[in-house]
Protein backbone atom coordinates (compact mmCIF):
# COMPACT_ATOMS: atom_id res chain seq x y z
CA UNK A 1 0.00 0.00 0.00
CA UNK A 2 1.21 3.46 -0.86
CA UNK A 3 1.14 5.61 2.25
CA UNK A 4 0.97 9.34 1.98
CA UNK A 5 2.82 10.96 4.87
CA UNK A 6 2.79 14.46 3.37
CA UNK A 7 1.16 17.28 5.30
CA UNK A 8 0.72 21.00 4.81
CA UNK A 9 1.61 23.63 7.39
CA UNK A 10 0.53 26.98 5.99
CA UNK A 11 2.22 27.27 2.62
CA UNK A 12 4.74 24.70 3.62
CA UNK A 13 4.57 21.21 2.19
CA UNK A 14 6.27 18.57 4.31
CA UNK A 15 7.05 15.17 2.81
CA UNK A 16 6.43 13.68 6.22
CA UNK A 17 5.08 15.15 9.46
CA UNK A 18 8.17 14.61 11.64
CA UNK A 19 10.22 17.65 12.55
CA UNK A 20 12.86 18.35 15.18
CA UNK A 21 12.19 20.93 17.86
CA UNK A 22 14.04 24.18 18.32
CA UNK A 23 16.94 24.03 20.76
CA UNK A 24 17.24 20.27 20.66
CA UNK A 25 18.89 19.81 17.30
CA UNK A 26 21.57 22.48 17.33
CA UNK A 27 21.89 23.77 13.78
CA UNK A 28 21.59 20.34 12.19
CA UNK A 29 25.30 19.68 11.82
CA UNK A 30 25.53 18.06 15.24
CA UNK A 31 23.35 15.18 13.98
CA UNK A 32 24.82 14.55 10.55
CA UNK A 33 26.84 11.56 11.75
CA UNK A 34 23.77 9.80 13.14
CA UNK A 35 20.96 10.24 10.64
CA UNK A 36 20.36 11.25 7.06
CA UNK A 37 19.03 14.70 7.73
CA UNK A 38 17.12 14.88 4.46
CA UNK A 39 14.78 12.18 5.72
CA UNK A 40 13.22 14.64 8.17
CA UNK A 41 10.00 16.48 7.38
CA UNK A 42 11.54 19.79 8.41
CA UNK A 43 14.19 21.16 10.70
CA UNK A 44 13.68 23.95 13.24
CA UNK A 45 16.79 25.89 14.20
CA UNK A 46 17.83 26.84 17.69
CA UNK A 47 16.16 30.16 18.54
CA UNK A 48 17.92 33.17 17.04
CA UNK A 49 17.90 36.66 18.48
CA UNK A 50 18.95 39.87 16.76
CA UNK A 51 22.12 40.20 18.80
CA UNK A 52 24.33 37.37 20.05
CA UNK A 53 23.38 35.96 23.45
CA UNK A 54 25.79 34.31 25.86
CA UNK A 55 23.07 32.46 27.72
CA UNK A 56 23.06 31.50 31.39
CA UNK A 57 25.91 30.29 33.55
CA UNK A 58 26.19 26.56 34.28
CA UNK A 59 24.81 24.28 35.57
CA UNK A 60 22.31 24.77 32.78
CA UNK A 61 20.65 21.36 32.75
CA UNK A 62 19.70 18.70 35.22
CA UNK A 63 18.03 15.33 35.01
CA UNK A 64 14.57 14.89 36.55
CA UNK A 65 12.18 11.92 36.68
CA UNK A 66 11.48 10.98 33.04
CA UNK A 67 12.77 14.30 31.86
CA UNK A 68 15.16 17.18 32.33
CA UNK A 69 15.29 20.84 33.19
CA UNK A 70 17.17 23.34 31.10
CA UNK A 71 18.01 26.98 31.52
CA UNK A 72 20.26 27.55 28.52
CA UNK A 73 19.03 31.13 28.26
CA UNK A 74 18.68 31.25 24.47
CA UNK A 75 22.41 31.16 23.78
CA UNK A 76 22.89 31.88 20.09
CA UNK A 77 25.35 33.73 17.85
CA UNK A 78 22.83 36.37 16.75
CA UNK A 79 21.21 36.78 13.35
CA UNK A 80 24.28 37.94 11.37
CA UNK A 81 26.57 35.10 12.44
CA UNK A 82 23.72 32.62 12.11
CA UNK A 83 23.19 33.62 8.47
CA UNK A 84 26.90 33.48 7.72
CA UNK A 85 27.96 30.37 9.67
CA UNK A 86 24.93 28.17 10.31
CA UNK A 87 22.40 28.76 7.57
CA UNK A 88 24.54 27.47 4.65
CA UNK A 89 24.66 23.97 6.15
CA UNK A 90 20.94 23.99 6.97
CA UNK A 91 19.95 25.15 3.53
CA UNK A 92 21.99 22.44 1.80
CA UNK A 93 20.13 19.59 3.53
CA UNK A 94 17.28 19.86 1.06
CA UNK A 95 14.37 19.93 3.50
CA UNK A 96 12.33 22.91 4.71
CA UNK A 97 14.26 25.07 7.18
CA UNK A 98 12.25 26.79 9.87
CA UNK A 99 13.95 29.53 11.82
CA UNK A 100 12.92 30.04 15.41
CA UNK A 101 13.18 33.66 16.53
CA UNK A 102 12.85 35.50 19.84
CA UNK A 103 13.11 39.02 21.15
CA UNK A 104 15.23 40.07 24.09
CA UNK A 105 14.44 43.59 25.23
CA UNK A 106 11.60 44.68 23.03
CA UNK A 107 9.00 42.80 20.98
CA UNK A 108 9.94 45.15 18.12
CA UNK A 109 12.93 42.87 17.58
CA UNK A 110 10.53 40.19 16.32
CA UNK A 111 9.52 42.50 13.51
CA UNK A 112 13.09 43.31 12.56
CA UNK A 113 14.07 39.63 12.63
CA UNK A 114 11.03 38.66 10.57
CA UNK A 115 11.69 41.41 8.00
CA UNK A 116 15.30 40.33 7.62
CA UNK A 117 14.51 36.63 7.38
CA UNK A 118 11.65 37.24 4.98
CA UNK A 119 14.26 38.20 2.38
CA UNK A 120 16.18 34.93 2.77
CA UNK A 121 14.78 32.55 0.20
CA UNK A 122 16.22 29.33 1.69
CA UNK A 123 14.15 29.82 4.84
CA UNK A 124 10.73 28.19 4.56
CA UNK A 125 9.03 29.35 7.70
CA UNK A 126 9.36 31.33 10.90
CA UNK A 127 8.59 30.05 14.35
CA UNK A 128 7.83 32.75 16.89
CA UNK A 129 9.28 31.71 20.21
CA UNK A 130 7.11 33.80 22.50
CA UNK A 131 7.25 31.15 25.17
CA UNK A 132 10.86 30.63 26.32
CA UNK A 133 10.88 30.55 30.12
CA UNK A 134 14.63 31.20 30.34
CA UNK A 135 15.05 34.87 29.56
CA UNK A 136 15.74 36.79 32.76
CA UNK A 137 14.15 40.14 33.28
CA UNK A 138 10.90 39.09 31.66
CA UNK A 139 8.10 39.24 34.18
CA UNK A 140 5.79 37.30 31.96
CA UNK A 141 5.88 35.67 28.56
CA UNK A 142 4.17 37.16 25.54
CA UNK A 143 2.37 33.86 25.13
CA UNK A 144 0.84 34.19 28.60
CA UNK A 145 -1.33 37.05 27.44
CA UNK A 146 -3.82 36.71 24.57
CA UNK A 147 -3.65 40.43 23.72
CA UNK A 148 0.14 40.52 23.62
CA UNK A 149 0.14 37.33 21.56
CA UNK A 150 -2.35 38.81 19.13
CA UNK A 151 -0.33 42.01 18.75
CA UNK A 152 3.01 40.34 18.14
CA UNK A 153 1.64 37.80 15.66
CA UNK A 154 -0.28 40.54 13.84
CA UNK A 155 2.82 42.76 13.56
CA UNK A 156 5.02 39.93 12.31
CA UNK A 157 2.31 38.78 9.91
CA UNK A 158 2.42 42.21 8.27
CA UNK A 159 6.12 41.93 7.42
CA UNK A 160 6.46 38.33 6.30
CA UNK A 161 4.93 36.25 3.57
CA UNK A 162 6.57 33.11 4.92
CA UNK A 163 4.68 30.47 6.82
CA UNK A 164 4.28 31.67 10.38
CA UNK A 165 4.25 29.25 13.29
CA UNK A 166 3.58 30.51 16.81
CA UNK A 167 5.04 28.47 19.65
CA UNK A 168 2.97 28.58 22.80
CA UNK A 169 3.74 28.15 26.47
CA UNK A 170 1.97 25.57 28.61
CA UNK A 171 2.41 27.85 31.63
CA UNK A 172 -1.04 29.37 31.23
CA UNK A 173 -4.53 28.90 32.63
CA UNK A 174 -6.24 28.45 29.30
CA UNK A 175 -4.10 27.66 26.27
CA UNK A 176 -7.05 27.68 23.85
CA UNK A 177 -7.57 31.37 24.49
CA UNK A 178 -3.94 32.10 23.49
CA UNK A 179 -4.19 29.75 20.52
CA UNK A 180 -7.29 31.53 19.25
CA UNK A 181 -5.55 34.90 19.60
CA UNK A 182 -2.63 33.66 17.49
CA UNK A 183 -4.98 32.24 14.88
CA UNK A 184 -7.03 35.44 14.71
CA UNK A 185 -3.81 37.44 14.22
CA UNK A 186 -2.87 35.40 11.18
CA UNK A 187 -0.58 32.65 12.42
CA UNK A 188 -0.47 29.77 9.92
CA UNK A 189 0.13 27.13 12.54
CA UNK A 190 0.78 26.61 16.23
CA UNK A 191 3.60 24.75 17.89
CA UNK A 192 2.71 23.35 21.25
CA UNK A 193 4.09 23.04 23.76
CA UNK A 194 7.24 24.79 24.94
CA UNK A 195 8.72 23.64 28.26
CA UNK A 196 6.92 23.79 31.59
CA UNK A 197 8.48 25.94 34.32
CA UNK A 198 10.16 23.86 36.96
CA UNK A 199 12.96 23.50 39.47
CA UNK A 200 15.00 20.91 41.28
CA UNK A 201 16.96 21.16 44.53
CA UNK A 202 20.21 19.60 45.74
CA UNK A 203 19.30 18.73 49.33
CA UNK A 204 22.90 18.49 50.54
CA UNK A 205 23.86 21.93 49.27
CA UNK A 206 20.33 23.29 49.77
CA UNK A 207 20.71 25.05 46.48
CA UNK A 208 18.91 24.82 43.18
CA UNK A 209 20.42 22.33 40.75
CA UNK A 210 20.30 24.97 38.02
CA UNK A 211 22.38 28.10 38.32
CA UNK A 212 19.37 30.08 37.11
CA UNK A 213 17.32 28.33 39.86
CA UNK A 214 14.33 27.68 37.59
CA UNK A 215 14.21 26.24 34.11
CA UNK A 216 12.05 24.53 31.55
CA UNK A 217 10.94 20.94 32.02
CA UNK A 218 10.89 18.64 29.00
CA UNK A 219 10.79 14.95 28.23
CA UNK A 220 8.17 12.23 28.76
CA UNK A 221 7.32 13.76 32.15
CA UNK A 222 5.38 16.51 30.36
CA UNK A 223 3.80 14.36 27.65
CA UNK A 224 0.28 14.00 29.16
CA UNK A 225 0.15 17.77 29.71
CA UNK A 226 1.27 18.46 26.13
CA UNK A 227 -1.15 15.95 24.71
CA UNK A 228 -4.12 17.44 26.54
CA UNK A 229 -3.19 20.90 25.32
CA UNK A 230 -3.01 19.69 21.72
CA UNK A 231 -6.39 18.05 22.20
CA UNK A 232 -7.93 21.18 23.77
CA UNK A 233 -6.60 23.50 21.09
CA UNK A 234 -7.48 21.18 18.20
CA UNK A 235 -11.12 21.53 19.03
CA UNK A 236 -10.96 25.31 19.12
CA UNK A 237 -8.97 26.32 16.05
CA UNK A 238 -8.71 25.55 12.34
CA UNK A 239 -5.01 26.04 11.67
CA UNK A 240 -2.65 23.06 11.97
CA UNK A 241 -0.92 22.13 15.21
CA UNK A 242 2.65 20.92 15.48
CA UNK A 243 2.56 18.78 18.60
CA UNK A 244 5.51 18.23 20.87
CA UNK A 245 6.34 17.41 24.47
CA UNK A 246 7.98 14.17 25.52
CA UNK A 247 7.72 12.26 22.24
CA UNK A 248 10.36 9.54 22.36
CA UNK A 249 9.03 6.75 20.16
CA UNK A 250 6.35 5.79 17.66
CA UNK A 251 3.59 5.22 20.18
CA UNK A 252 4.08 8.59 21.84
CA UNK A 253 4.21 10.21 18.39
CA UNK A 254 0.93 8.56 17.39
CA UNK A 255 -0.81 9.87 20.48
CA UNK A 256 -0.22 13.42 19.27
CA UNK A 257 -1.61 12.80 15.79
CA UNK A 258 -4.70 11.15 17.23
CA UNK A 259 -5.17 14.09 19.62
CA UNK A 260 -5.11 16.51 16.70
CA UNK A 261 -1.53 17.32 15.68
CA UNK A 262 -0.87 17.66 11.93
CA UNK A 263 2.86 17.30 12.50
CA UNK A 264 5.06 16.50 15.46
CA UNK A 265 8.42 17.66 16.71
CA UNK A 266 11.03 15.55 18.43
CA UNK A 267 12.77 17.48 21.18
CA UNK A 268 14.60 16.15 24.19
CA UNK A 269 14.63 12.61 22.77
CA UNK A 270 17.23 13.82 20.25
CA UNK A 271 19.65 14.12 23.17
CA UNK A 272 19.22 10.51 24.19
CA UNK A 273 18.72 8.77 20.90
CA UNK A 274 19.77 10.96 17.96
CA UNK A 275 17.94 8.56 15.65
CA UNK A 276 14.53 9.04 17.30
CA UNK A 277 13.10 11.18 14.49
CA UNK A 278 13.92 8.78 11.66
CA UNK A 279 12.81 5.78 13.70
CA UNK A 280 9.44 7.49 14.16
CA UNK A 281 9.14 8.14 10.41
CA UNK A 282 9.57 4.41 9.72
CA UNK A 283 7.22 3.64 12.59
CA UNK A 284 4.52 5.81 11.07
CA UNK A 285 4.70 3.92 7.80
CA UNK A 286 4.47 0.57 9.58
CA UNK A 287 1.54 1.72 11.72
CA UNK A 288 -0.34 3.03 8.67
CA UNK A 289 0.36 -0.18 6.80
CA UNK A 290 -0.85 -2.32 9.69
CA UNK A 291 -3.99 -0.26 10.17
CA UNK A 292 -4.70 0.19 6.47
CA UNK A 293 -4.49 3.96 6.61
CA UNK A 294 -3.36 5.32 3.26
CA UNK A 295 -2.83 8.88 4.43
CA UNK A 296 -1.49 10.34 7.66
CA UNK A 297 -4.19 13.00 7.41
CA UNK A 298 -6.79 10.38 8.26
CA UNK A 299 -5.13 9.90 11.62
CA UNK A 300 -5.12 13.57 12.62
CA UNK A 301 -7.69 14.26 15.32
CA UNK A 302 -9.08 10.76 14.98
CA UNK A 303 -9.68 10.38 18.70
CA UNK A 304 -12.87 8.48 19.44
CA UNK A 305 -14.89 9.97 22.22
Amino acid sequence: MNINLAVKIGKLKLKNPVMVASGTFGYGEEFKDFIRLRKLGAIVSKTITLKPRKGNLPPRTCETPAGMLNSIGLENPGLEVFIKDKLPFLSKIGIPVIISIASEDSPVEFIELAERINRISVVSALELNISCPNVSGQKSLISQDPKATYQIVKSVRKVTSKTLITKLSPNVTCISEIAQAAEAAGSDALALINTLSGMSIDIDKRSAKLNAVCGGLSGPAIRPVALKMVFDVYNKIKIPIIGMGGIIDISSALEFFIAGATAISIGTANFINPRTSVEIISGLKEYAQRNKINSIEKLIGSLKI
Binding site: T61, I72, F271, I272, P274
Partner: protein
Protein backbone atom coordinates in the same frame (compact mmCIF):
# COMPACT_ATOMS: atom_id res chain seq x y z
CA UNK B 1 31.26 9.75 16.03
CA UNK B 2 29.03 6.71 15.85
CA UNK B 3 26.06 5.30 17.73
CA UNK B 4 26.46 1.57 18.22
CA UNK B 5 25.19 -1.35 20.24
CA UNK B 6 28.23 -2.47 22.08
CA UNK B 7 28.80 -5.76 23.84
CA UNK B 8 30.17 -5.82 27.38
CA UNK B 9 33.25 -8.04 27.40
CA UNK B 10 34.04 -7.60 31.04
CA UNK B 11 32.71 -5.49 33.91
CA UNK B 12 34.39 -5.94 37.26
CA UNK B 13 35.16 -4.19 40.50
CA UNK B 14 38.56 -2.58 40.05
CA UNK B 15 39.13 -1.42 43.59
CA UNK B 16 36.77 -0.28 46.38
CA UNK B 17 33.99 1.71 44.76
CA UNK B 18 35.74 1.86 41.38
CA UNK B 19 34.78 -0.39 38.48
CA UNK B 20 36.35 -1.29 35.18
CA UNK B 21 34.30 -2.11 32.09
CA UNK B 22 35.46 -3.31 28.69
CA UNK B 23 33.29 -2.97 25.58
CA UNK B 24 33.69 -4.37 22.13
CA UNK B 25 33.49 -1.25 19.97
CA UNK B 26 35.76 -1.42 16.92
CA UNK B 27 34.50 1.78 15.28
CA UNK B 28 35.12 3.76 18.44
CA UNK B 29 38.41 2.03 19.26
CA UNK B 30 39.77 2.82 15.82
CA UNK B 31 39.14 6.55 16.08
CA UNK B 32 39.47 7.40 19.76
CA UNK B 33 42.24 9.64 20.99
CA UNK B 34 43.19 10.14 24.66
CA UNK B 35 40.89 12.57 26.46
CA UNK B 36 37.83 11.76 24.37
CA UNK B 37 34.76 10.16 25.92
CA UNK B 38 31.82 7.91 25.19
CA UNK B 39 28.16 8.54 26.11
CA UNK B 40 26.25 5.49 27.32
CA UNK B 41 22.52 4.84 27.51
CA UNK B 42 22.33 2.83 30.68
CA UNK B 43 18.77 1.63 30.62
CA UNK B 44 16.02 0.85 28.19
CA UNK B 45 13.43 2.65 30.27
CA UNK B 46 13.31 6.23 31.54
CA UNK B 47 15.51 5.84 34.62
CA UNK B 48 18.10 7.23 34.28
CA UNK B 49 16.71 9.42 31.53
CA UNK B 50 19.89 10.85 30.05
CA UNK B 51 23.03 9.17 28.78
CA UNK B 52 26.10 9.20 31.00
CA UNK B 53 29.51 10.32 29.76
CA UNK B 54 32.62 8.27 30.57
CA UNK B 55 36.15 9.12 29.56
CA UNK B 56 38.07 6.53 27.59
CA UNK B 57 40.42 4.77 29.96
CA UNK B 58 42.19 2.60 27.46
CA UNK B 59 41.94 1.17 23.96
CA UNK B 60 43.19 -2.31 23.20
CA UNK B 61 42.56 -3.64 19.73
CA UNK B 62 38.84 -3.25 19.08
CA UNK B 63 38.03 -2.83 22.75
CA UNK B 64 37.21 0.34 24.64
CA UNK B 65 37.77 0.44 28.40
CA UNK B 66 36.27 2.75 30.98
CA UNK B 67 37.05 3.18 34.66
CA UNK B 68 34.24 4.56 36.77
CA UNK B 69 33.23 5.30 40.32
CA UNK B 70 29.78 4.32 41.56
CA UNK B 71 28.28 7.65 42.50
CA UNK B 72 24.62 7.60 41.49
CA UNK B 73 21.92 5.60 39.83
CA UNK B 74 23.62 5.56 36.41
CA UNK B 75 26.90 4.11 37.57
CA UNK B 76 25.06 1.73 39.88
CA UNK B 77 23.12 0.32 36.94
CA UNK B 78 26.28 0.14 34.86
CA UNK B 79 28.03 -1.88 37.56
CA UNK B 80 25.26 -4.48 37.28
CA UNK B 81 25.89 -4.84 33.53
CA UNK B 82 26.88 -8.40 32.70
CA UNK B 83 29.32 -9.81 30.22
CA UNK B 84 27.57 -10.39 26.89
CA UNK B 85 24.96 -7.68 27.43
CA UNK B 86 24.69 -4.84 24.93
CA UNK B 87 24.66 -1.12 25.64
CA UNK B 88 23.90 1.78 23.30
CA UNK B 89 27.07 3.86 23.08
CA UNK B 90 27.90 7.07 21.22
CA UNK B 91 31.53 7.95 20.65
CA UNK B 92 34.26 8.92 20.44
CA UNK B 93 33.21 12.39 21.54
CA UNK B 94 34.87 15.72 22.21
CA UNK B 95 38.37 17.04 21.75
CA UNK B 96 41.11 15.03 23.36
CA UNK B 97 44.62 15.89 24.50
CA UNK B 98 47.20 17.15 22.07
CA UNK B 99 50.48 15.46 22.81
CA UNK B 100 53.85 14.62 21.41
CA UNK B 101 53.75 11.18 19.81
CA UNK B 102 57.28 11.13 18.54
CA UNK B 103 60.11 10.12 20.82
CA UNK B 104 61.41 13.01 22.87
CA UNK B 105 64.74 13.74 24.41
CA UNK B 106 65.09 12.31 27.90
CA UNK B 107 65.39 15.75 29.49
CA UNK B 108 61.93 16.75 28.23
CA UNK B 109 59.70 15.72 31.07
CA UNK B 110 55.96 15.23 30.83
CA UNK B 111 53.95 15.49 34.03
CA UNK B 112 50.53 13.90 34.36
CA UNK B 113 48.38 14.87 37.35
CA UNK B 114 45.50 12.54 38.25
CA UNK B 115 43.04 13.41 41.00
CA UNK B 116 40.70 10.62 42.13
CA UNK B 117 38.73 9.13 39.27
CA UNK B 118 40.48 11.74 37.09
CA UNK B 119 43.04 8.98 36.55
CA UNK B 120 40.62 7.38 34.07
CA UNK B 121 41.46 9.27 30.84
CA UNK B 122 45.10 9.76 31.76
CA UNK B 123 46.13 6.12 31.53
CA UNK B 124 45.41 5.99 27.80
CA UNK B 125 47.24 9.28 27.41
CA UNK B 126 50.26 8.01 29.34
CA UNK B 127 50.42 5.02 27.02
CA UNK B 128 50.30 7.18 23.91
CA UNK B 129 52.90 9.77 24.86
CA UNK B 130 56.21 8.63 23.48
CA UNK B 131 58.47 10.37 25.93
CA UNK B 132 61.12 8.74 28.05
CA UNK B 133 60.58 10.89 31.06
CA UNK B 134 56.96 10.65 32.13
CA UNK B 135 55.97 11.36 35.70
CA UNK B 136 52.49 10.66 37.01
CA UNK B 137 51.27 12.27 40.22
CA UNK B 138 48.27 10.43 41.62
CA UNK B 139 46.12 12.18 44.19
CA UNK B 140 43.54 10.46 46.38
CA UNK B 141 41.80 10.90 49.72
CA UNK B 142 43.39 7.77 51.19
CA UNK B 143 45.79 4.99 50.23
CA UNK B 144 42.83 2.73 49.39
CA UNK B 145 41.62 5.16 46.76
CA UNK B 146 44.89 5.55 44.87
CA UNK B 147 44.08 4.50 41.30
CA UNK B 148 46.14 2.84 38.59
CA UNK B 149 49.58 3.03 40.22
CA UNK B 150 50.55 -0.28 38.66
CA UNK B 151 49.04 0.57 35.27
CA UNK B 152 50.84 3.90 35.03
CA UNK B 153 54.12 2.21 35.93
CA UNK B 154 53.34 -0.35 33.24
CA UNK B 155 53.09 2.43 30.67
CA UNK B 156 56.61 3.54 31.49
CA UNK B 157 55.86 6.35 33.93
CA UNK B 158 57.46 7.04 37.24
CA UNK B 159 54.70 7.42 39.83
CA UNK B 160 54.41 9.65 42.87
CA UNK B 161 51.44 9.62 45.21
CA UNK B 162 49.70 12.21 47.35
CA UNK B 163 46.97 11.40 49.82
CA UNK B 164 44.89 13.83 51.84
CA UNK B 165 45.40 11.81 55.04
CA UNK B 166 49.03 10.93 54.38
CA UNK B 167 48.32 7.17 54.34
CA UNK B 168 50.48 6.90 51.21
CA UNK B 169 53.12 9.17 49.72
CA UNK B 170 53.01 12.93 50.12
CA UNK B 171 50.54 14.15 52.73
CA UNK B 172 48.31 16.75 51.18
CA UNK B 173 46.81 17.70 47.87
CA UNK B 174 48.27 16.46 44.62
CA UNK B 175 48.73 20.09 43.58
CA UNK B 176 51.06 20.48 46.57
CA UNK B 177 53.00 17.48 45.32
CA UNK B 178 53.18 19.05 41.86
CA UNK B 179 54.77 22.20 43.34
CA UNK B 180 57.30 20.08 45.18
CA UNK B 181 58.16 18.01 42.12
CA UNK B 182 58.62 21.09 39.95
CA UNK B 183 60.96 22.58 42.56
CA UNK B 184 63.04 19.42 42.84
CA UNK B 185 63.19 18.55 39.18
CA UNK B 186 64.91 21.78 38.21
CA UNK B 187 64.41 21.75 34.44
CA UNK B 188 61.05 22.87 33.10
CA UNK B 189 58.76 20.07 31.92
CA UNK B 190 57.52 20.11 28.34
CA UNK B 191 53.90 19.77 29.37
CA UNK B 192 51.44 19.08 32.17
CA UNK B 193 48.25 17.08 31.66
CA UNK B 194 45.60 16.94 34.36
CA UNK B 195 42.19 15.51 35.16
CA UNK B 196 40.41 15.58 38.50
CA UNK B 197 38.15 17.70 40.67
CA UNK B 198 37.76 21.32 39.57
CA UNK B 199 39.62 22.87 42.56
CA UNK B 200 42.58 20.60 41.77
CA UNK B 201 42.54 21.59 38.09
CA UNK B 202 42.38 25.24 39.08
CA UNK B 203 45.42 24.80 41.33
CA UNK B 204 47.29 22.98 38.54
CA UNK B 205 46.39 25.77 36.09
CA UNK B 206 47.76 28.39 38.49
CA UNK B 207 51.01 26.52 39.10
CA UNK B 208 51.52 25.89 35.39
CA UNK B 209 50.66 29.50 34.59
CA UNK B 210 53.17 30.85 37.13
CA UNK B 211 55.94 28.74 35.69
CA UNK B 212 54.86 29.20 32.11
CA UNK B 213 54.46 25.47 31.49
CA UNK B 214 51.93 24.44 28.82
CA UNK B 215 49.07 22.62 30.57
CA UNK B 216 45.96 20.84 29.37
CA UNK B 217 43.09 19.95 31.65
CA UNK B 218 40.07 17.70 31.16
CA UNK B 219 36.89 19.35 32.43
CA UNK B 220 33.54 18.08 33.63
CA UNK B 221 30.07 19.66 33.58
CA UNK B 222 26.49 18.39 33.64
CA UNK B 223 25.88 16.96 30.19
CA UNK B 224 22.58 16.18 28.54
CA UNK B 225 23.35 15.25 24.94
CA UNK B 226 27.15 14.89 24.73
CA UNK B 227 27.11 15.78 21.04
CA UNK B 228 27.06 19.57 21.13
CA UNK B 229 23.35 20.08 20.60
CA UNK B 230 21.85 21.10 23.93
CA UNK B 231 24.46 23.70 24.95
CA UNK B 232 24.11 22.53 28.54
CA UNK B 233 27.68 21.68 29.53
CA UNK B 234 29.43 25.01 29.13
CA UNK B 235 32.49 26.36 30.96
CA UNK B 236 33.90 29.88 31.03
CA UNK B 237 36.74 30.53 28.62
CA UNK B 238 38.57 33.59 27.40
CA UNK B 239 36.33 33.55 24.33
CA UNK B 240 33.08 33.11 26.25
CA UNK B 241 31.17 30.01 27.26
CA UNK B 242 32.23 26.84 25.46
CA UNK B 243 30.87 23.31 25.48
CA UNK B 244 32.73 20.65 27.46
CA UNK B 245 31.35 17.96 25.13
CA UNK B 246 32.44 19.61 21.90
CA UNK B 247 35.20 22.20 22.32
CA UNK B 248 36.36 20.19 25.38
CA UNK B 249 36.54 18.16 27.51
CA UNK B 250 40.26 18.96 27.18
CA UNK B 251 41.13 22.65 27.27
CA UNK B 252 44.33 24.62 27.54
CA UNK B 253 44.47 25.50 31.24
CA UNK B 254 45.21 29.17 30.53
CA UNK B 255 42.32 29.43 28.08
CA UNK B 256 39.81 28.75 30.82
CA UNK B 257 38.51 31.32 33.27
CA UNK B 258 38.63 29.68 36.68
Amino acid sequence: MVQINSRIINNKRFKGNYWHCIFEAPLIAKRAIPGQFIDIKLSRNLEPFLRRPFSIHNISGNKVEILYEILGIGTKILSAGKKGEYLDIIGPLGNGFTYQNKAKLPEQKTIIVAGGIGAAPLLYLSRKIKAENKIVLIGARTKEQVLCEKEFKGSGCSVKIATDDGSAGFKGRVSGLLKLVLKREGSKPAAIYACGPKPMLKAVAEIAGDKNIPAQVSMEEHMSCGIGACLGCVVKTKKGLERVCKEGPVFDAQYLIW
